[in-house]
């Protein structure tokens, strides 16, 4: 095989190149030729094709994502915003948190275990590359119908993959989601979140400044993993018949990643890293172009020096390989020895593969010949930007017109409650979460089934002993709501995550998001995307929480059938005194139960309509963001004053489900009456901006007074105690029976 060098490219300008096979459009290829003033070499083509893929360049989403910046609320907490590996937020006392959510949807469909596992690995490296110690993970999962055969293939593998990888890293899994809907049958959504902690003044960035500095590749050796994956696997539609053409999937080595984590932390501690970047999709191509583009502008790399697992790899393949557990660092020549010694201590292979230059060019050689010579910014930053056409879907008005009002209402609310409680979306997720280690490192304050995960800071890292703070995190999304109204759906996803953080007593601070959609080339999907991003940006502005980063996953569709638009939103909050966190549910007998927030009749997209009538139509609940803000303020103040003993937010399934789950949490019953006349609406409407709390009887007045100050309606419903959930004149169910319905559902399906 002849080596395609720059010299050869100049001599053979008309050589036909397989840019289309690499997913590049004619005009994109022409632009590369214009940039270089010649045809690209095959290695350069490899770089541009992956860097300009949808996955890496955000070419279809960029124009919409900009709103997250332009509409961003003023926030003193934001230290690093969008555009870096992950956003960084000031959490006080000199400490910062970095967090991000990312998708690994397509790989998880092809090979559920490895696909999901490497999804966790990738997001953890993003967090490490900010200079942080990763401290917890979460996973937001969506599958086809629970009883559909392919779900039985995909779900156990995904859960095992996430569990195994995260457990091996010693990262507690503190939350996430599992949802089922037939729309995800060929396109499961596997979104993984990681959060890390670092000193505010020790943020690392992906940059390669200082000519003469060394470029070090460390971690696993490079193999043929997912070659072409970034552009082919991750951003093209694939269908069942094409199984034979599946590109090599990446296999993760969590042990190597664990070594990498400890190794990186020691490198940071020793202060021997100038810039650092993880290798994810697009591997060496991405790391070199991005580091160079953000640094002094030039870099020289000898690709022969890249340690290979498969010695037959060609330079193009090395550039595109997605081998996991690799990082790239920029190190001053004086620190190289110290850097290598630390890598050796941790048994992490490390190799100098190049040097920073001031030429403004990224130059790579192979066997002494120049095979890449490009301005790195043109690959990393100046990718194509599309203003994709969009319009409202043809059936949208009809869908919105077909409201739930026409559905017959149930007469037996007891049975309805048990049916919903045992439906796959609302049932206990313990079958999944019991496969995750939630205790490791001993800092987990809240994990499943709490509304948000919470981690204390003081013992995460040396030097943090003085702080009493904790961070809380939740991820949420609802594809049905977003299908009915993507603008409101995205806002409701944010509202729910925000509320989940608030009910623990923490104050929401910042947002990350993973936008899972169908093909951007379909104007109807693009409309959903445009509406969802607009909705999210507007809501962030109103709630005062900036978007710090995230990820877009397009092409989640089989044939022309796209998934429900599914924006998944993660919210991070801070609690000043972690010991004041509010526990989940009814924590003791003899407490007063109160409902905060107003209830309206809202059943569009509801769990009831879905489970009982298999109906999706009408409009989702209103996203009343002012009310959300008030509710969160009440909860934070009440937690700080120690007014609340237990809490639970209201979301899917409404008050009925929240009451049942609150009873199940500690096995404490309750007797309540409903705040409104219509018991069905009272129990199952999904109005947002509501939460259930329990307080000592003598604290009720103070709570009511606090609610009054923030204009939050507060209804005393009754008291906790006994062994049953009693809703006066409506239903009476032993807690044991609630528990059986709730906990038995998934094991009955998945074994």
């Amino acid at each position: 095989m002849t080596l395609d060098s720059v010299k050869l490219a100049l001599e053979t300008p008309d050589e036909r190149q397989p840019y289309a096979e690499l997913g590049m459009k004619d005009d994109e290829y022409q632009r590369v030729r214009e940039i270089l003033g010649r045809r690209p070499t095959s290695s350069e083509l490899a770089i541009y094709s992956v860097m300009w893929s949808e996955h890496c360049s955000y070419k279809s989403s960029k124009v919409h994502l900009r709103q997250f910046g332009t509409k961003a609320p003023k926030s003193e907490a934001l230290l690093v915003g969008m555009g870096e590996n992950a956003g960084v937020v000031d959490i006080g006392d000199g400490w910062a948190a970095t967090f991000k959510i990312e998708s690994h949807n397509h790989p998880s469909y092809v090979e559920p275990h490895q696909g999901a596992a490497t999804g966790v690995g990738g997001i953890v490296r993003d967090i490490m590359s900010m200079g942080a110690r990763p401290i917890a993970v979460m996973d937001a999962l969506r599958f086809g119908g629970a009883t559909q055969p392919d779900t039985r293939r995909v779900l156990p593998g995904v859960v095992e993959g996430i569990g195994h990888y995260g457990n091996c890293l010693g990262l507690p899994n503190i939350g996430g989601e599992v949802a089922f809907d037939p729309c995800y049958i060929g396109n499961p959504l596997v979104n993984a979140l990681c959060v890390g902690l670092l000193r505010k003044d020790q943020i690392k960035l992906a940059t390669a400044p200082g000519p003469g500095n060394k470029v070090v590749l460390f971690g696993a050796r490079t193999g043929a993993d997912g070659i072409g994956g970034a552009s082919v696997l991750a951003s093209a539609t694939f269908e069942d018949e094409s199984q034979a053409k599946r590109p090599a999937v990446q296999v993760g080595d969590p042990f190597m990643e664990k070594l990498l984590i400890e190794c990186c932390l020691e490198l940071y501690q020793a202060d021997v890293v100038v810039g650092i970047q993880d290798l994810g999709a697009a591997g060496v191509s991405c790391a070199t172009t991005e580091l160079a583009a953000k640094g002094t502008g030039g870099m020289h790399v000898d690709l022969n020096l890249v340690p290979l697992r498969d010695p037959t790899l060609r330079p193009e393949e090395i550039l595109m390989s997605e081998s996991q557990e690799r990082m790239m660092a920029v190190v001053t020549p004086g620190d190289i020895a110290a850097f290598m010694a630390i890598c050796e201590k941790w048994d992490v292979p490390a190799t100098v593969i190049g040097e920073v230059t001031d030429t403004g060019r990224l130059v790579m050689t192979w066997d002494g010949e120049t095979i890449v010579d490009i301005p790195p910014g043109t690959a990393a930053d100046d990718g194509p930007v599309y203003e994709r056409p969009f319009h409202e879907p043809a059936g949208q008005a009809a869908l919105n017109g077909d409201g739930p009002e026409r559905l017959p209402r149930p007469s037996d609310l007891r049975e309805t409650l048990l049916t919903l409680l045992g439906s796959p979306n609302l049932a206990s997720k313990e079958w999944v979460t019991s496969q995750y280690d939630r205790y490791v490192r001993g800092n987990t304050v809240l994990a499943q089934p709490a509304d948000a995960g919470m981690v204390r800071i003081s013992e995460v890292m040396p030097g943090a002993e003085e702080t009493t703070r904790g961070i809380a995190l939740s991820t949420d999304g609802n594809g049905r709501y977003a299908k009915l109204d993507p603008y409101a759906g995205a806002q409701l996803a944010l509202a729910e995550a925000y509320r989940n953080v608030a009910v623990t007593g923490a104050t929401p601070l910042a947002v990350t998001n993973c936008l899972n959609f169908g093909s951007p080339e379909d104007p109807e999907v693009m409309w959903q995307f445009a509406e969802a991003t607009r909705g999210l940006a507007d809501a962030c502005q109103i709630l005062g929480v900036p978007v710090t980063g995230g990820n877009v996953s397009f092409y989640n569709q089989t044939g022309s059938a796209a998934i429900h638009p599914t924006p998944v939103v993660g919210v991070l909050g801070v609690i000043d005194d972690v010991a004041r966190r509010i526990r989940s549910g009814f924590t003791a007998p003899g407490l007063r139960v109160a409902l905060l927030g107003e209830t309206h009749e809202e059943f569009g997209g509801s769990e009831w309509a879905h489970v009982v009538h298999d109906h999706l139509g009408g409009l989702p609940p209103q996203a009343d963001l002012a009310a959300e803000r008030g509710l969160a303020a009440v909860l934070a103040a009440a937690a700080a004053e120690g007014l609340i003993e237990g809490s639970h937010d209201l979301s899917d399934g409404g008050l009925g489900i929240a009451l049942a789950e609150s009873c199940i949490a500690q096995g404490v019953g309750a007797s309540v009456s409903l705040p409104i006349e219509d018991a069905f609406v009272g129990l199952f409407s999904e109005t947002a901006a509501r939460a259930l709390v329990c307080v000592r009887p003598e604290a009720f007045e103070a709570l009511a007074e606090l609610c009054g100050r923030f204009d939050v309606p507060c209804y005393g419903l009754g008291t906790t105690g006994g062994t049953s959930l009693v809703v006066e004149d409506v239903l009476d169910v032993p807690v044991a029976e609630l528990r059986e319905a709730h906990e038995g559902a998934l094991p009955a399906i998945f074994g």
Binding site: V110, E111, Q114, A220, G223, A224, D225, R246, A248, V249, Q250, V251, G252, D253, F255, M256, R309, D310, S323, Q324, D347
Partner: protein, 81 residues
């Protein structure tokens, strides 16, 4: 009654972290002269009848759909003598 063996190994291009961890450990344990280790699975399948064409074809199908994950693994089948 016959015993059919199905050997399942990761495809050569797929990373085998287990094998690599073993290979890296060997020198420390005083074993030299080993250039590579790969770890796979071995299934012993006891069949009721003889290991004839039909039975082997059944085992092959079983290997393809259940015992091996053909996305990342190859398998071979032989009858134990």
């Amino acid at each position: 009654m016959a015993r059919v063996i199905v050997d399942v190994m990761l495809k050569p291009e797929i990373l085998d972290p287990q094998g690599q961890a073993i290979a890296r450990a060997l020198p420390r344990l005083g074993f030299s002269g080993v250039s590579d280790v790969r770890q796979g699975k071995r299934f012993e399948v006891e069949i009721d009848g003889p290991a004839d064409e039909a039975a082997l074809s059944d085992v092959r199908k079983m290997a393809e759909t259940l015992l091996a994950n053909t996305v990342i693994e190859d398998f071979t089948i032989h009858v134990e003598s």
